[in-house]
């Protein structure tokens, strides 16, 4: 099977979905790049290059560059979704929720319910997330929890190229507003990705590893730190269930609960600040629904409760690190 990067996988999904369904459009800042300029169009194809080649393939009517105007971008996507299109809107960085959040949580998320099921809002909001590039406090935040908490939204956070393609194709087919969270540290990671179209259903976790000492649930890029540590510890005979929920809303509670029922121990890893994050959320679900299986405290390894610092060494210290993950695993394994 061909090996593709996460970037290529999403790009391919967009190409295929647009070819497949004329109602799919892409809009956002620099989704092609070069609008109004003398040089080449499709100059960027998105600042991360995810939408590259869409403009030449599908034209300006379906690949729409916008001014810097996030509320209007998301609102336009929502209005278009209500009236016959399937927009994929790009929010350049997830950090920019703040300049368009009303259109996400008060509008798109609520239409179907608030209007008694008479309106649908089949749209995708793509956004880049995560620290690690020294991009500073306003371009590095993982805010997956801010949308996971919102009823009416679905939230997808793929951790590999295969999932990214299948989940994107599902997101575009879905009739709800889907927030598609792309961790910037993953764009250049790669794995085998089929050429043909396929979908991965929402709410179905992926077991990266299976084991018996501990259940680990990780979100986005930290998953890869977890895998590295777990594989190292496997040599010592420590084995873990490593679960990637793939979508935080809907959440595959069953997979997590079942795993904890066998391992009795749970570690949660994400790159959000600790208060009210996904780690806290899943912890609370398990503490409520699988309490009797628990044989140790539920541990969380998250980012620190501070804005993301700029200096690379501070930023690394801010993020959940390999050492933190390893320490937590050892602590839990040893807990009796």
């Amino acid at each position: 099977m061909p090996v593709k990067t996460y970037r290529e996988a999403i790009n391919e999904a967009l190409h295929q979905a647009m070819a497949d369904d004329a109602s799919v459009i892409v809009l956002g800042e620099e989704v092609s790049g070069g609008a109004g300029c003398e040089g080449s169009r499709d100059a960027y194809g998105g600042v991360m290059g995810i939408t590259k080649g869409l403009l030449p393939a599908f034209g300006e009517e379906r690949v729409i560059d916008t001014p810097i105007t996030e509320s209007a971008i998301i609102g336009a996507a929502a209005g278009a979704a209500q009236t016959g299109l399937r927009p994929v809107a790009e929010l350049m960085f997830m950090d920019f929720f703040g300049v368009c959040f009303d259109q996400i949580y008060n509008q798109a998320a609520k239409f179907h319910y608030m209007f008694g099921g008479k309106s649908q809002c089949p749209m995708v909001v793509r956004c880049t997330t995560g620290a690690g590039w020294s991009a500073g406090a306003q371009h590095s935040q993982n805010l997956t929890q801010m949308v996971t908490m919102v009823p009416g939204l679905k939230v997808v956070c793929p951790t590999n190229a295969y999932d990214a393609k299948g989940l994107m194709l599902q997101a575009i087919k879905d009739n709800d507003c889907v927030i598609f969270v792309e961790d910037k540290m993953l764009y250049d990671t790669s794995c085998e990705v089929p050429d043909e179209m396929y979908t991965i259903p929402f709410g179905e976790a992926n077991f990266y590893r299976e084991g018996s000492d501990l259940t680990i649930v990780a979100i986005s890029n930290p998953m890869h730190k977890v895998l590295a540590v777990v594989d190292r510890l496997a040599e010592e005979g420590i084995t873990c269930d490593v679960i990637d929920p793939r979508t935080t809303s809907p959440l595959d509670e069953e997979a997590i609960l079942e795993s904890v029922e066998t391992t009795g121990k749970l570690l949660l890893v994400d790159e959000m600040t600790p208060r009210c994050g996904i780690a806290a959320d899943i912890s609370s679900i398990v503490a409520e629904k699988a309490f009797s299986s628990l044989r140790a405290p539920i541990r969380k390894v998250t980012a620190a409760h501070s804005p993301v610092p700029f200096a690379p060494n501070l930023e690394q210290a801010w993020m959940p690190g390999d050492a933190d993950i390893e320490a937590a695993i050892r602590e839990l394994v040893e807990y009796v």
Binding site: S23, I25, E61, R62, I64, T66, P67, T69, S71, A72, I73, I74, G75, A76, A77, A78, G79, A80, A81, Q82, T83, G84, L85, P87, D102, Q103, N106, Q107, F111, H112, Y113, M114, F115, G116, G117, K118, S119, Q120, C121, P122, P151, G152, K154, D174, N175, D176, F202, G203, P250
Partner: protein
């Protein structure tokens, strides 16, 4: 050429803005709105309506003027003050009444209420309780029309207050950039809650600000259904011709409080009485129509009676309808599987 010369002189006269049938239809719509608002005001006082009510009374000629030029598949998005827009767009009055009472059979299943009134069958994409929430959405609806190659237009209603919200400005700019068939229709009733437009609107000129975004912008007396119709014809045609967005600023009176129950201490002495006497679009329309011989007083009275009867039925239906089943609580949170 010769056929042109054969035209009778009368045919050269400017066609009337509204012909008889058009006028009667518009009048009925305006009256329906007024009666609807009066009725729910009454029921609200009796405690039969929960939540907040923002009534449209006094502004009817504005919403009706534009909506009468729209088809069912043209789109409007509305504001917290949305009953009038919903009725003007042909919304189901009985379903609306049930909705506002929070009952089964409500047009949004009782989930929305007054501030989220909608009728998707009629292209009414919903009232919006976030000031400035609607304009970006209409940009999207207009984008659908453009992308799908139809001649549909989208109208975003907004108040003078909403004209100061950043989302409104963004929507106007984006509509200009993408040359979309969107109409930004501002009903300037002088007030955003208890703050006057002369205070809140920098430059005191909503249309002027819109024009500076690079689109045609018109001001119109929103109490005159004929004037509104005339301006809106141009605007709608401009959009249907693919020439991009238009803004209309209609000055209208607000006969009621910002919300039902508003003590309105900020109003001038006798202000409301004067407004009701001098700026009632229904009175103005009747006078003009009778003068222009578009209709007789008796004909208009008959419409009033028919509307009153409809309101009676709607109210009864609303009162009689059962409240939603608790089991419906979690219905429609998502459209696709969850």
């Amino acid at each position: 050429m010769s056929t042109a010369t054969k035209q009778r002189p009368e045919a050269k006269k400017k066609a009337p803005v509204l012909d008889r049938d058009q006028f009667l239809k518009a009048y009925r719509s305006m009256r329906t709105i007024r009666s609807f608002e009066d009725k729910i005001s009454e029921e609200f006082m009796k405690g039969n309506i929960p939540g907040f009510l923002h009534l449209y009374s006094g502004q009817e000629a504005a919403g009706v003027g534009i909506c009468e030029l729209l088809n069912d598949d043209d789109y409007v998005v509305s504001t917290h003050r949305g009953h009038g827009h919903c009725i003007a767009k042909g919304g189901d009055v009985i379903g609306m009444m049930k909705e506002i009472m929070g009952k089964q059979g409500g047009i949004c299943d009782g989930k929305g209420g007054s501030m989220h009134i909608a009728d998707f069958d009629k292209g009414m994409l919903g009232a919006n309780a976030i000031v400035g929430g609607g304009p970006p959405l209409i940009v999207g609806a207009a984008l659908s029309a453009k992308t799908l190659g139809t001649t549909q237009v989208g109208v975003a209603f907004g108040g003078d207050g909403s004209s100061n919200q950043g989302t409104t400005f963004e929507a106007m700019n984006l509509a200009v950039v993408l040359k979309l068939p969107a109409i930004f229709f501002f009903e300037n009733n002088g007030y955003g809650e208890g703050t006057h437009a002369s205070y809140a609107v920098g430059s005191r000129d909503i249309a002027g600000r819109a024009a500076a975004f690079g689109m045609p912008a018109f001001k119109v007396d929103g109490t005159d259904i004929f004037a509104v119709t005339e301006v809106c014809k141009k605007a709608v045609q401009h959009c249907r011709d693919g020439k991009g967005p238009v803004t209309i600023e209609a000055s209208v009176p607000r006969f009621k409080g910002h919300f039902e129950g508003d003590p309105q201490a900020y109003r001038g002495e006798n202000e409301i009485e004067t407004l009701m006497k001098e700026q009632d679009c229904l009175v103005i329309a009747r006078k003009a129509a009778i003068k222009q011989k578009l209709a007789t007083a008796a004909e208009l009275d008959k419409i009033d009676e028919e509307v009153a009867e409809l309101m009676g039925r709607a109210t009864e239906a609303g009162l009689a309808a059962p409240v939603p089943e608790i089991s419906e609580l979690m219905d429609n949170v998502y459209s696709s599987e969850y």
